[in-house]
C-alpha cells in the first residue's frame, strides 16, 4: 500500500511573493484528497511542492518538509528525479507527447528508467488497463497520441504516469478541459485508482471535490483554512470562510 504524505511548515515563494505561508497537513494513503480554494489561493503551488516541481521555476523557493513515508523529499538525500517517479502528475491540459504513438507515450517513462524491451508491451498494456483506456486503443497503439479525443488523451497521460508505478498521483484540474461525459469517466477512474495509490486532486469545481474525494483541504491566500473529511466539510464546515466559499457567498 502506498505511503501517505506529511507536510510540515511548508512555505513557498515566487521571488519576493509569499504564496504558501506555512502549511501543515497529512495526506492519507489509499484515499483521494481534494485541494480547493479560489484563484490565487496557492493550491496549484502547494501540489507542485509535493513533487518538487515548484522549484524548477526561476526565482521560486521552498522551505519546510514534505515526508513521503519516512523520506523527507526536501532533505539532503532528496533526488527530484526519483521523487517525480514516486509521485506522478497529470495536468489541466492533456499533454501527450505529440510526435509519439499511444504505445510510445506510455512507454516513455519506462524506457527512461531502463525497462527491457521484452517487458515493455506488458507494462504498457497494464498501465492502459489501469487508466481505463486499453479497450479503446488496443487496436491503435501505433496511432499518434494526439489523434485521440480530449478525454482519451487525458487518460493516456494518466496511463503514462501510472506506467512507472508511482505511489502518489497528483492531478491539477485534470477535468477542466473535458466535457461532462469524459469528466465522469475520469472521476470513476479515480475511485479505482485510490485502491492502489494515493491521489491528490486540485480542483476549482467544488462539486467535483465533493463527489470524488475522501478528504478536502480549503486554501485561501496561501493558508490552509480547514482540512477534514469531505463529508464533514460539505455538510458542516467548522470555519465560516470555508462555508462562505462552499456556498458561493464568496466575493
Amino acid at each position: 500500500m502506498a505511503d501517505g504524505i506529511r507536510v510540515e511548515g511548508l512555505q513557498a515563494w515566487f521571488g519576493p511573493v509569499h504564496v504558501l505561508k506555512g502549511i501543515d497537513l497529512h495526506i492519507v494513503p489509499g484515499a483521494v484528497t481534494a485541494i480547493i480554494g479560489p484563484s490565487g489561493c496557492g493550491k496549484s503551488t502547494f501540489v507542485r511542492c509535493l513533487n518538487r516541481m515548484h522549484e524548477v521555476v526561476p526565482g521560486a523557493r521552498v522551505e519546510g518538509h514534505v515526508y513521503l513515508g519516512d523520506e523527507d523529499l526536501y532533505g539532503p538525500a532528496g533526488d527530484p528525479v526519483a521523487i517525480r517517479r514516486r509521485i506522478g502528475m497529470v495536468f489541466q491540459k492533456p499533454n501527450p507527447f505529440p510526435t509519439m504513438s499511444v504505445f510510445d507515450n506510455v512507454a516513455a517513462g519506462l524506457r527512461l528508467n531502463g525497462f527491457r524491451r521484452a517487458d515493455l508491451r506488458e507494462a504498457v498494456e497494464a498501465a492502459l488497463e489501469r487508466a481505463a483506456l486499453w479497450d479503446e486503443v488496443k487496436d491503435q497503439l501505433e496511432k499518434s497520441g494526439a489523434s485521440l479525443s480530449g478525454g482519451q488523451q487525458q487518460r493516456l497521460c494518466i496511463a503514462r504516469a501510472l506506467a512507472v508505478e508511482p505511489e502518489v498521483l497528483l492531478m491539477d484540474e485534470p477535468c477542466s478541459a473535458l466535457d461532462p461525459m469524459a469528466t465522469a469517466k475520469i472521476e470513476e477512474l479515480i475511485q479505482e485508482l485510490k485502491k492502489r495509490l494515493t491521489v491528490v486532486i486540485v480542483t476549482h469545481n467544488m462539486q467535483q471535490a465533493a463527489r470524488v474525494s475522501d478528504q478536502t483541504g480549503f486554501f485561501l491566500l496561501g493558508e490552509l483554512i480547514e482540512f477534514d473529511e469531505t463529508g464533514r466539510i460539505f455538510t458542516n464546515p467548522r470555519d465560516r470562510r470555508t462555508e462562505d466559499y462552499i456556498t458561493g457567498r464568496f466575493g
Binding site: A184, K185, Q191, Q207, A210, R211, T230, G231, F234, T235
Partner: protein
C-alpha cells in the same frame, strides 16, 4: 455506467428496508402481545423502538451527506428526498406499535372484554399495506403503490366499526369503559399505521412519476 454513487444508493436502500422490516415486526408483535395477552412480549417490543429511532437518525444523516456530496438530480434527487420522508413515516409507525403495546399491558391486567376479531384484521391489513409500499419503493413499482392507497379505506371502515361496537358495550355497562376505551385507542393506532403506509405509497408514486398525489381527496 455504474457509478460509485449507485453503490451508496443501494446501501441506503438496504438500510431503509431493514428499518421497514423492524417496524413491520414491531406492529405484528404488538398486536400479538394484545391477542395472546403476553405483556412480556409487549415490553420487548417497546424496548426495540430504540433501534428504529437510531436507524432514522443514521439514514437521515446519510441522505443529507449524499445530497451534499453528489448534488443529485431528477430521480436520484427524488429517491433521496422520498427516503427522508419515508423514514419519518416508519419511525411514527414504530411509535404507534409502542402505543399498542402500552395499551396491551394495561388490558392484559383485566379479563378480556370480548374476542378480538376486527383489531387483528386491521393489523394484518396495515402490515400488508406497509409491506407492499416498501416493496413498491424498492422495486419502483407504481401500480403496487397505487393499489395500497384504496386499502386504507378498509382500515378506516374497520376503525369505525370497532368504535360503534365498543360504544354499545360502554353504554350497556359502564364497568367496561376502561377496557373499551383502550381498545378504541388501539384501533386508532392501527388506523394511523395504515395512514403512514399510505403516505409511503404516495411518496413512491412521486419517486417514480414525479407527481405528488398527496392530499387529493378520495371518494
Amino acid at each position: 455506467m455504474l457509478r460509485h454513487f449507485d453503490e451508496e444508493l443501494g446501501q441506503l436502500k438496504e438500510k431503509v428496508l431493514k428499518m421497514g422490516g423492524l417496524v413491520e415486526t414491531m406492529v405484528e408483535r404488538a398486536v400479538a402481545s394484545l391477542v395472546d395477552r403476553d405483556s412480556r412480549l409487549a415490553e420487548e417490543v417497546i424496548a426495540s423502538d430504540a433501534k428504529v429511532d437510531t436507524l432514522e437518525v443514521e439514514i437521515n444523516e446519510e441522505c443529507i451527506r449524499l445530497l451534499a456530496l453528489h448534488q443529485p438530480t431528477a430521480v436520484d434527487l427524488r429517491f433521496l428526498t422520498t427516503a427522508m420522508k419515508i423514514i419519518t413515516d416508519l419511525e411514527r409507525m414504530a411509535d404507534q406499535a409502542v402505543n399498542v403495546c402500552q395499551r396491551a399491558v394495561e388490558l392484559n391486567e383485566e379479563p378480556q372484554l370480548k374476542p378480538y376479531i376486527d383489531i387483528p384484521i386491521m393489523a394484518q391489513l396495515a402490515q400488508k399495506m406497509l409491506r407492499d409500499s416498501l416493496d413498491a419503493f424498492v422495486g419502483r413499482d407504481v401500480q403496487l403503490a397505487r393499489d395500497v392507497i384504496p386499502a386504507d379505506n378498509k382500515v378506516d371502515a374497520l376503525k369505525d366499526q370497532v368504535f360503534r361496537e365498543l360504544l354499545t358495550f360502554m353504554m350497556e355497562d359502564p364497568r367496561t369503559i376502561p377496557r373499551a376505551t383502550r381498545l378504541i385507542l388501539v384501533s386508532r393506532y392501527l388506523e394511523r399505521v395504515a395512514d403512514h403506509a399510505t403516505n409511503i405509497a404516495e411518496m413512491v408514486v412521486f419517486l417514480v412519476e414525479g407527481k405528488d398525489i398527496r392530499h387529493i381527496p378520495r371518494k
